[in-house]
Structure formats: structure tokens, C-alpha cells
Amino acid sequence: MGWGLIRLYAIAVYAFMFLPVAVVVLLSFNANQFGSFPMTGLSLRWFEALWNNDAVMRAFRTSLVLGLMTAVISTTLGVLASLALVRYDVPGKNLITTALIAPILVPEVVLAVALLLFLNWLGIGKSFALLLAGHVIFTLPFVILVVQARLVSIRRDVEEAALSLGASPVQTFFSVTLPLLMPAVAAGALFAFTISFDDITGTLFWKPGGVETVPTQIFSMLRNSISPEINALGTVMILLTVGLPLLGAAIARSLSTKRGR
């Protein structure tokens, strides 16, 4: 009887979480001209409308470029920072780690306002570079956490073996450390991309006028009317932010089983 109740409760929680999502996905295929029930038939017309909506497509491209650049920069910085923190004796290690992880702990609004005020104080206006910098700061902790955890588990003597065999420190990094770190690097990059692609709070503060990302575009579309296009856009977002990490995990798994690890 206890278990039955727990099961019921679990189902209710999942329904609460996923039903709205399911509704959005379902309605995005609705042929009806209003974005609501009843469904009058299946159609891709709202996806087509999206495709032909210049503002949405521009926002999509912005988000994609922003996400990719954030992923690349954040992952590079995150790997370098993790290496320094794990492999070398940096003075003030704990302080630096805390500072790098802090953006996760600080509420996003506070972080967003702080960065904006700071740049105002420096006399630097809003720009795409600022937006990118904000996203990097915000995603860096995730990359560092993932990469550091993996780096700690890579035995130092494997790198020492490479060095002893004649590989320079840089060659050792690229031929031994990085390949072993790859699953974490890929996971970190995916994290950074999805978080950036998904972000709205910081983006609203940081984006220069006239630039929209997909989330801010949805936000402004919602202020005018509830168009069924938004359902379609939501579906695309879900596909990307859920599908990409799943794909990444699947690739990582197939790579590691091939090596018999």
C-alpha cells in the first residue's frame, strides 16, 4: 500500500513537470490557427512559419553563434584553469577555485546586474562581446567542475611515463592528458552550449539593443500575442537542449566501450 502511494506520487510529480512540455510539443503540430486545444489536425505549418520569420531566424542564428562561441571559450578556459588548479601548486588555490565556482552560487540576476554596473563604471557599453563574456563567466563553473573531476582521476604517473619517454610537456598534454580528458571536455562544452542557448535572465541584461537570442525572442513575442509559432519554437528548443546532451552521452559511451574501458 505504501509503495502504491509512492508510485502514484512519483507519477504526479512527473506529470506536473512534463505535461506542460508535452502539451507545447503536441500543440506545435496543431493545424488549428490558434495555439490551443482542440487539435484540428496534424501539420508542420507553424514550423514553416518559423522558418519564414526573419526575426526568429536571426535570433536563432545569434543564439547558435553565441552558444558555440561560449562553448569554445568556456571549455578552453575551463581546461586551462583546471590544469593549473589540479596539476600545479598555485598560491591561493582554494580562493581561486571558490571565485571560479561562485557564479553558480550567486543568483543570476545579481551576477547580471553586477557585471553590467562594473562595465558601466569602466565606461564600456553593452555589446555582443559583453554578452559573450557574461555567458562565459556563467558557464565556466560547470566546465571546471566537470573537467576537474575527471582530471583528478587521471593518474599523474601516466603523464610522467609520457614525459620519460621523450614527449615534451605540451606533447604530453595533447597525446595523453587531453584524450583521457575528452569525455569531460565534451560534456563541459555541451553544458556550456545548452546553458548559453537556454539562458534568459543574464541575456536580458547584457544584450545590446536590437540583438535577440531565441529565449529573449520568445519572451518578446509572448508580450504581444500567443502565436502558435511559439509552440513550434519551444519544440525546437526542447529538441536542442535535451537532444544534444543525450547525443553527446551516447557518443561518449560508444567511444569508451570501443576501447573496452
Binding site: 601516466v158 611515463a161 609520457a162 614525459l163 620519460s164 619517454l165 621523450g166 610537456p169
Partner: protein, 359 residues
């Protein structure tokens, strides 16, 4: 010529001194073992030779060249680690061939040398496997192949056998020694296991608390320990307070009150000098237990009581009492071991004893 020379090496970690004023010559082509209890500075010493640690003071030379300022990847070494340290993302052949990529060796030659190295360790059929698909013993052999394929000036081995189980360890130690001999590569081996050191080494360097206690071939270190520490560390030894009662020619008479008077060759007491007090060292294997009515005029015979017996299969360790002295003996078991409470005779040959100065 010495292949590796350490002169006055000191290594400090903060205020802690891990290696103190160490000087050593490792002869070309020899198999030298750093032996000592855990924490005595063996790994630290080896890592300084490797270039993984910088000495605080002193110089290290390899083949006559001072290497203090030469980074590890330019020292042309082979290192075998305790936990194998194979590259998990590379096949066995890629692991073994790794060092050749950084040397002027063309592909065909590299392939030939990899196969040769794999044949040396008798695992050519595993070339395409990944390390995780190998047993511990196989992994360590691959690690050895990877280290020797580059024809290193010095091969460094840090407790390479201690992660293996007991039976395999003994097989591997014979095999490792054979391979070293065949290649003639100068090797520095680190272990805390005295039987490993005795079985494999040309020279043993016994270390304690960052210092060299004694350097010598296995028989010498075993039979003529230079200090009480060495005597106790290499197997069980009885150490008794003695007085020097006479010195004549090559012989030395020692009296252990309540035990025996022993005349030993002076060569067995090289450190004693003119002192009148000494410590008599008798290895536990050299005290032979005999039935209480035994007689032998060529040896010293001492009546004793068996207090306890530790049965070890083909041998037994006896805890004995002679007057005030508590002694240990390890004897092979002939028919049946003596039992606790038995009265026995201890048979001792003077040439099996050694003497140390009192410190």
C-alpha cells in the same frame, strides 16, 4: 665508468629532509637496488634521477653529463612504475611504440622494434589489445617493453612488482632480471622487499631515513651488515652485547656473558676498530637447533629452551631462551619441528657471525 653518479644530494620538502647528503655511483650495466623501509627516501631519490624532482643540493650525472638542469623528456630514460601507468586509450603496440615517436626512427624500424620488445616480454600476440584487457602481470611486462624499446641510458623501476600477487611476483622477478641482463641496461630498482633485493641485485644500497646505510653486493650486505639497522632489516638477526677479549692476527675473540665466547674472522667486523665493546650479529638462519644430546667439536654448542614455535610450512621460526638472552632461529624442518618447552642445543659456526661497533 659509473653510468649514474649522485654527489652530495640533499632533498628537502619544506623543513623536512627526505634525502640527506647522498652520494652514489651506479656502475654501467649493473642492476642496483635501493632497499629500505617505506618512507626512507627511495622514491624521492629515484625521482630526482628521473628529473621528476629537483634536488635541493648536489649534482646528478648520467653517463658523465650533469643532468640537474636537463628536463625529464631529454634525459633518455625508461621508467617502470608501480601501477604500470600504461596509456589506457592506446593499444599495447601503440603504448610500446610511444617513445619511438619522439626519436629519429622511421615507421618500419619502429614497428620492428615494437615487435622485438613485445617478443622480449613474450607477449607479441597482445599487440592489438587495450591495457584494460590485460592482467596485472601482462600490463607490467608491457610497461617494461615500453621502457626498454627506446634503449634508455638508465632504466628506473619503482617497486614494479609490488602490485602483483605473490606467486607472479617471484616469476616476474626472475624474468625481469633475465631481461635486464640480456639488454645490459643500467638499472636502478626500488623496493622495500629484502628478498627481492637479494635475489635480483648486483649491488644493494640499503637506505634508512634518507641516508645510505650500506652499499655492497647481496652476500656482503647480508653476511656482513655495516650497522644494526642493516642487520635487522635484512631478515631476522640476533644482536647481542659482547666484549672484545682478544685480538690475534686475523681473529677476534668476543665474549657474550651467559651465552658463549666466539672467535670470528676480523673481516666479519670491518667497522669495529679498537673498541673493547661490540655487538655480535647472528642471523636467525645460522642458529641450528639440535637434539639436547648432540655433540660437535667443530662448532659452538649452546644449550637452550624453546619458548615458542611459529610453524611456516617448510621452515619454522623458534623463539628461544639461553639464560637471560632471548633469541630467534629459523630452521628448515627435517622430520618434525621442535616443540615449545623442548630443551635443545644450538649449533653455531663462528664464521657465520659478524660484529658491529656499539653506537
Amino acid at each position: 665508468m659509473a653510468a649514474v653518479t649522485l654527489s652530495n644530494i640533499v632533498k628537502r620538502f619544506g623543513t623536512f629532509t627526505a634525502v640527506q647528503k647522498m652520494s652514489l655511483d651506479i656502475p654501467e650495466g649493473s642492476f642496483c637496488t635501493l632497499l629500505g623501509p617505506s618512507g626512507c627516501g627511495k622514491t624521492t631519490t629515484l625521482r630526482m634521477v628521473a628529473g621528476l624532482l629537483d634536488p635541493t643540493e648536489g649534482d646528478i650525472s648520467i653517463n658523465g653529463r650533469r643532468v640537474n638542469d636537463i628536463p625529464i623528456h631529454k634525459r633518455n630514460l625508461g621508467i617502470v612504475f608501480q601501477n604500470y601507468a600504461l596509456f589506457p586509450h592506446r593499444t599495447v603496440a601503440q603504448n610500446v611504440g610511444f617513445g619511438l615517436k619522439y626519436r629519429p626512427v622511421d615507421r618500419a624500424e619502429a614497428q620492428r622494434r615494437v615487435m622485438q620488445a613485445l617478443e622480449l616480454v613474450q607477449l607479441p600476440h597482445l599487440a592489438d589489445r587495450y591495457p584494460s584487457e590485460l592482467s596485472g602481470g601482462q600490463q607490467q611486462r608491457i610497461a617494461l617493453a615500453r621502457a626498454v624499446v627506446v634503449e634508455p641510458d638508465v632504466l628506473l623501476l619503482d617497486e614494479p612488482l609490488s602490485a602483483l600477487d605473490a606467486n607472479l611476483r617471484e616469476d616476474m622477478r626472475v624474468e625481469l632480471k633475465n631481461i635486464q641482463k640480456r639488454l645490459g641496461v643500467t638499472s636502478i630498482f626500488v623496493t622495500h622487499d629484502q628478498s627481492e633485493a637479494l635475489a635480483m641485485s648486483d649491488q644493494i644500497i640499503v637506505m634508512s631515513e634518507g641516508r645510505v646505510e650500506q652499499v655492497g653486493p647481496p652476500e656482503e650486505v647480508y653476511n656482513t651488515p655495516a650497522s644494526e639497522f642493516v642487520a635487522r632489516f635484512l631478515g631476522a638477526a640476533n644482536i647481542l652485547e659482547a666484549r672484545v677479549t682478544d685480538r690475534q692476527g686475523d681473529e677476534l675473540a668476543l665474549d657474550v656473558p651467559g651465552f658463549a665466547r666466539v672467535v670470528i674472522p676480523r673481516a666479519r667486523a670491518p667497522k669495529l676498530g679498537d673498541a673493547s665493546a661490540a655487538k655480535l650479529v647472528i642471523r636467525a638462519e645460522k642458529l641450528k637447533l639440535m637434539p639436547a644430546d648432540s655433540r660437535d667439536d667443530t662448532a659452538i654448542m649452546i644449550p637452550a629452551q624453546v619458548e615458542a614455535v611459529d610453524y611456516q610450512g617448510q621452515a619454522a621460526r623458534y623463539f628461544l631462551r639461553v639464560g637471560d638472552h632471548a633469541l630467534q632461529a629459523i630452521n628448515m624442518i627435517d622430520v618434525a619441528p621442535f616443540a615449545a618447552g623442548d630443551s635443545v642445543i644450538l649449533r653455531l659456526l663462528p664464521r657465520d657471525c659478524a660484529a658491529l661497533p656499539v653506537t
